[in-house]
Structure formats: C-alpha cells, structure tokens
C-alpha cells in the first residue's frame, strides 16, 4: 500500500431468503482477510472488511439482515444510503431464486439510484442438487445490469472474487456516501469537566 492509497467506504447490504447463506458469505469474506483487525461479530449484524485494488482501498461496511427478512419486516433504514447489495439465493432452490428477483426489484424501486447489485447463487459446493441453472441466472443478471457469480461460502469459491468485483464497479468519488463526513458522536463525559455556560466567561 503506498501513501497515495485512497480509502473509500461503502455501505453494502445483504438480501435474500432465510437460510440461503447470507451470513456465511459475509463471515467467509470477513474472516478470510485481515484477521488482525476483526470487528465484533455479535449476531453478524455489522461487519467491516477492506478490499485492496490497485490504487485504492475499498472498505465495506456490511449490513446483515439480522433475521428481519423472515417476516418481511426489513426496515427502510436498512436500504438507506446502501451503495452496494448482494442478493443471495440457494442454487438448489428455485423459490429462493424467485425471491431474489423480488429483492432486486425492491432495490431498484427503494434503493439508492446508482446502487451496485450483485446476484450470488450460493451453495455451489452442493451443485449436484442444483435446481437453478447457471445460464438462467446469468441471463437475468445481464438483462438487469447485475454482477453475477455462483459462490460457496463453505469452500470459499468465488467469495472474495465477488466482493472484489463489487469493489471495482463502485464509483470512487471523493464523497461516496451521502451525508458522509459522518457527524461523530463521541462518548459523553460524566462529570463537570466541560462547564461553559453560554452567557458567562
């Protein structure tokens, strides 16, 4: 990493039916890299990981669904400001693929205008039980301008590659996130260290 290396931070959200392997993909990606800087994984709800490209570093702030997809109660807040999304399905389940298509539509309707969407057919290690053909998903992805890969969180196949492709496709503008330059909310000191009434000296 040279000194000119710029760091860009992006919010990435995961979507997809329950049990298609969303959290596993993230954990595989996050734990495979940079182990010396591993964020808390409680509930795997908020993780961060970086991808180094040639001249830039992309830091993903990854949001997992925390189970709120189960009863379709993902809050609008979840999509807000997300610049990238991975929509995951299980290659053994046509239902999960159809659900993924619904998520893509939802993102196109509700998400940020320039959101980068990747479609991931997960559980490639179980290809013997495949129900969703690669060509079918590939075609859908092409028609809708999505990145597409079949992955296996279990064997790690294509997991890093997927994130790298997303990182490459994201626009590296100086202020990637609307409202970035986030207002810091520092801890509050407990005692009277900072007494400065506004009308006195």
């Amino acid at each position: 990493m040279n000194n000119n290396n710029k760091i860009f931070q992006f919010k990435l959200v995961l979507l997809g039916e329950a049990a298609v392997g969303k959290s596993s993909l993230v954990l595989r990606f996050v734990r495979g890299h940079f182990l010396d800087y591993q964020e808390s994984t409680i509930g795997a709800a908020f993780l961060a990981q970086t991808v180094c490209l040639n001249d830039t570093t992309v830091k993903f702030e990854i949001w997992d669904t925390a189970g709120q997809e189960r009863y379709h109660t993902l809050a609008p807040m979840y999509y807000r400001g997300a610049q990238a999304a991975i929509v995951v399905y299980d290659i053994r389940s046509q239902d999960s693929f159809e659900r993924a298509i619904k998520w893509v539509k939802e993102l196109q309707r509700q998400g940020s205008p320039n959101i980068v969407i990747a479609l991931a057919g997960n559980k490639l290690d179980l290809a013997a039980k495949r129900k969703v053909e690669t060509a079918e998903a590939q075609q859908y992805a092409e028609e809708n301008g999505l990145l597409f890969m079949e992955t296996s969180a279990k064997t790690a196949q294509n997991v890093n590659e997927l994130f790298v492709e997303i990182a490459k496709k994201l626009p590296k503008t100086p202020n990637p996130r609307p409202g970035s330059g986030r207002l810091p909310i520092p801890p509050i000191e407990n005692n009277n260290q900072r007494k400065k009434p506004c009308c006195s000296n």
Partner: protein, 450 residues
C-alpha cells in the same frame, strides 16, 4: 411463530423499540408486533403519500411538492439534545452505527415582537439584544454561580441549598427580572411552563448544565437530528433487538389479549402466542390508561426558510408562554432537504404545544405568524395517555404517550422507568465496548502519527 416468549412488545414506537432492544440485549426472548405495516407508530416519519393518506384520505399530494419518497415527515417533532439521555442510550447500545446525524443550526427564542438567536457563545451573548445592559450584568453573576456550582462542594453554594430552595428564590437572590427568567427557564432549561419556579432549584441547574454541555459538543446549537427523520430511531433500535434475537412482525392486527395462568396470551390473525409479560404503547390497552392532556401538532410545508432565522437549514424556535399569554410554550422545529426529510427547496416546520382551550389550532397562531407563507398544513390533536398502574401486578407494562416537550429527555426517562418496572433493576447507561475499542484505536493511531 414460536409458542412462548419472555416478552411480547406491541407497537413499534421509539419507546417500545428501545425497550425491545434493551430486553433482547439482556437475553430475553422478544416478539415485537405492530398493527401497522410500517415501523414507528406515532413516532414514525411518513412520506408524502402516507402523510396525505393519514390526514386527507382520498386526496393526492400536488405535484408541486415533488416526489413522495423524498419526504420523511415526523409525526412527533423533537430534537435530540447532544449530551442528553437519548445520545447516552445510543452510545450504550452502539446503535449510533446505524444512523447519521446533523447538527441543528440554531436555536431561537421569541421575544416580542420578533425571534432572536439564543446565544451560543459568550460573544454572542454580549452582543445579543435579548437582554438589556443591566440584565446582562446580573445574568453574568448568575451564570458564574451556575458554572462554579458543585453539588459536592458547599463553598460554591453561596449559602443556598438547591435541594430545598426554589428556583424563584434563586432568581430573586440574583435580582433577575421577568425577561431573563423567561429566557433561562424556557430557552435554556427548556421548561414547557412555569411550574418549575416553585420547585427545588436543583433540577433547573441540572437542565442548564445539560443545555450547556450539549451546546459545547458541536457549537451551533445543543441539538442534533438524524438524517431521514426521527422515524429512523425506532428502526435502528428495532434492528438492535433483531440482532440479539428479537422477532419482528408488522401488519399484525391484535385481536385479543388475555391474562391466564400467570401468562399473557396475545391473539393475532387467529394465532395465539404467550409471554411472561407484555410491553405496549397506550393504544393497545385503552382500558388500562387514563387521559391526562392533549397536544396539538401542526406540520407545515414551506417554500422558504423561516423569516429572521438567518436562512438556517434547521432551527428550533421557542415561544415562551408569557410572551403570548399562555400557560405552556409553543415550539417550532424546522428541518429541510439536507436532512432528507423533504424535496429540495422545501422546508418543514412543525409547530406544537399543549392544548389549553377548545380551539387548539387557534393556539398555534403566534407560531404561524412567525414561519412565513405555508404551502400545506396538517394539524392534529393527540390525546396524552398515562398508564393507570405500573404494570407489576398484571404484567402489562405501558408507556406514556409522547409529550409536547421539544426533546427526548422525558421520552428516555419513561423508557428507563419501564425498564426498571419490568426487570426490577435500574438501567445503567454505559459506553458500548465497540465504541471504547474504536476510541482506543483512534488514540493509538493519533499517538502513532505524533
């Protein structure tokens, strides 16, 4: 749906979502439901279509207002004191992570015949025309007393026991007259009415300190406001609850709630689930709450910033009760498109106060007169409910409605009170370990650079 939960929470208003999050973090198994299809209940922020649906069913928003999705209009207007309890709760839970905030640009107070900036620094205070020359002198004496006052150190007390002395007596001792008292009590202590004058002064001192500490954090005003509206707050705490295993269901009409064999049984869409106890907002238990007041709120969409507010993107304006011959203050909260709450070029001013007469809307006239031409106005009167019992007997813990105060202190106190009633132990607000870790790393980085 699982059969039995430790707790069923009904309603996804801010208070219920904070409680839900805190209970899940405590390891309780929580089922959280709402009859509406969206998060937030009374504390939601609505887009334009939802807003028209709620206030003018059947009418379509005029195209001149812009796209519906650009709007996130708060039903309950409040700002967040940046050193207040809500920020402490955000830091305690690390929910700050899910939200982006902006500092509110300024705070104004109405003093006949116009609004004036609440000084944000010593120099602003000296040049402010809010106080006359002699008043500045006595105020200065008063504020240095406040500044030096240390509860532990009697030498700083100047013979006053603030736990027994009333605030009225303290003002008298410093020779403060009506105008500065109005300013201190309403613009700094943020009291809604004048009842505080005859109560022990200590609370007023704590409030002044809170104001000053909050102001010191960002400088422009003591307030912060979340991007995309206050409705983000319940969603963020709901996410916390979900992360710790809480189950969420929206669009669930609640048909029946009964207490049987020491369990609470809640029926929705023909399915019954049980829990050890229930937490809910007053609307789910009309028989268990009493009406103790009413609040009138008026959402006004404007095409320009509020006159005399220095073209600020956001501000608070307080109209102290005495200035307009009322018993309680009128608040105006102004936010605009940089907060992602409305279309570009629009401003949202939300006016609110406690209802004192049979013509609530007329009570807001003084505020309407200050905010300039109004493009659209949506006025509503909300009942203010309090639970009749504390819930320990019937295992039904109810929050109070949202009051007319301009900030979240009473909201958070109610949450802390609920927490203690439910779990039998007080909520101790700490700093989340993640944040401490980040702070440490930052310090190390800074040291490394030096």
């Amino acid at each position: 749906m699982d059969e039995h939960y430790d707790c069923i929470v009904l309603g996804t208003g801010l208070k219920e979502c904070i409680i839900s999050g805190l209970l899940s973090v405590e390891g309780k198994k929580v089922l959280h439901m709402d009859r509406n299809g969206y998060y937030g209940g009374e504390s939601a922020s609505l887009n334009l279509n939802q807003l028209f649906e709620k206030f003018r069913a059947g009418a379509k928003p005029p195209p001149t207002l812009g796209a519906s999705r650009d709007y996130n209009i708060d039903l309950i207007p409040k700002f967040i004191l940046s050193s207040g309890l809500l920020v402490k709760m955000l830091l305690h839970t690390d929910v700050t992570r899910y939200l982006d905030f902006k500092v509110v640009d300024g705070s104004y107070v109405y003093q006949k015949p116009k609004i004036q900036k609440v000084p944000a620094s010593d120099s602003e205070a000296l040049s402010s025309s809010l106080l006359g020359f002699f008043e500045k002198f006595s105020c200065k004496k008063f504020f240095s007393f406040v500044q030096n006052y240390d509860e532990e150190d009697p030498k700083t007390h100047d013979g006053l026991n603030l736990k027994t002395t009333t605030m009225r007596a303290v003002f008298a001792k410093f020779g403060l007259k009506a105008d500065p008292i109005d300013f201190i009590g309403h613009a700094l202590c943020l009291y809604l009415n004048d009842e505080y004058l005859d109560k022990p002064a200590i609370e007023s001192f704590q409030r002044m300190k809170l104001y000053v500490d909050s102001l010191a954090r960002y400088g422009k005003s003591p307030y912060i406001y979340p991007m995309y509206g206050l409705g983000e707050l319940p969603q963020a705490f709901a996410r916390l609850s979900a992360i710790y295993g809480g189950t969420y269901m929206l669009n669930k009409p609640i048909e029946k709630i009964v207490s049987e064999d020491g369990k609470i049984k809640v029926t929705s869409e023909g399915e019954t689930v049980t829990a050890d106890y229930v937490v809910a907002d007053p609307s789910y238990f009309p028989d268990k709450v009493k009406l103790t007041g009413r609040v009138v709120r008026s959402i006004c969409i404007l095409n320009a910033p509020v006159p005399n507010s220095n073209n600020n993107e956001s501000c608070q304006i307080i109209i102290p009760q005495k200035q307009v011959g009322r018993k309680s203050d009128i608040y105006i909260g102004v936010i605009s498109s940089p907060h992602m709450v409305c279309a570009k070029g629009k401003y949202v001013a939300i006016v609110s106060t406690n209802v004192e007469t049979n013509e609530p809307e007329k009570e807001l006239q003084a505020a309407y007169d200050l905010i300039g031409p109004i493009v659209e106005k949506f006025t509503s009167v909300s009942d203010y409910f309090e639970p009749i019992a504390d819930g320990r007997q019937d295992k039904t813990f109810l929050s109070t409605s949202y009051d007319a105060t301009s900030h979240f202190e009473t909201t958070c106190l109610d949450v802390m009170n609920l927490f203690e009633r439910i779990l039998g132990k007080p909520l101790v607000l700490t700093i989340h370990p993640n944040l401490l870790k980040e702070q440490q790393q930052q310090q190390q980085q800074e040291e490394g650079q030096q």
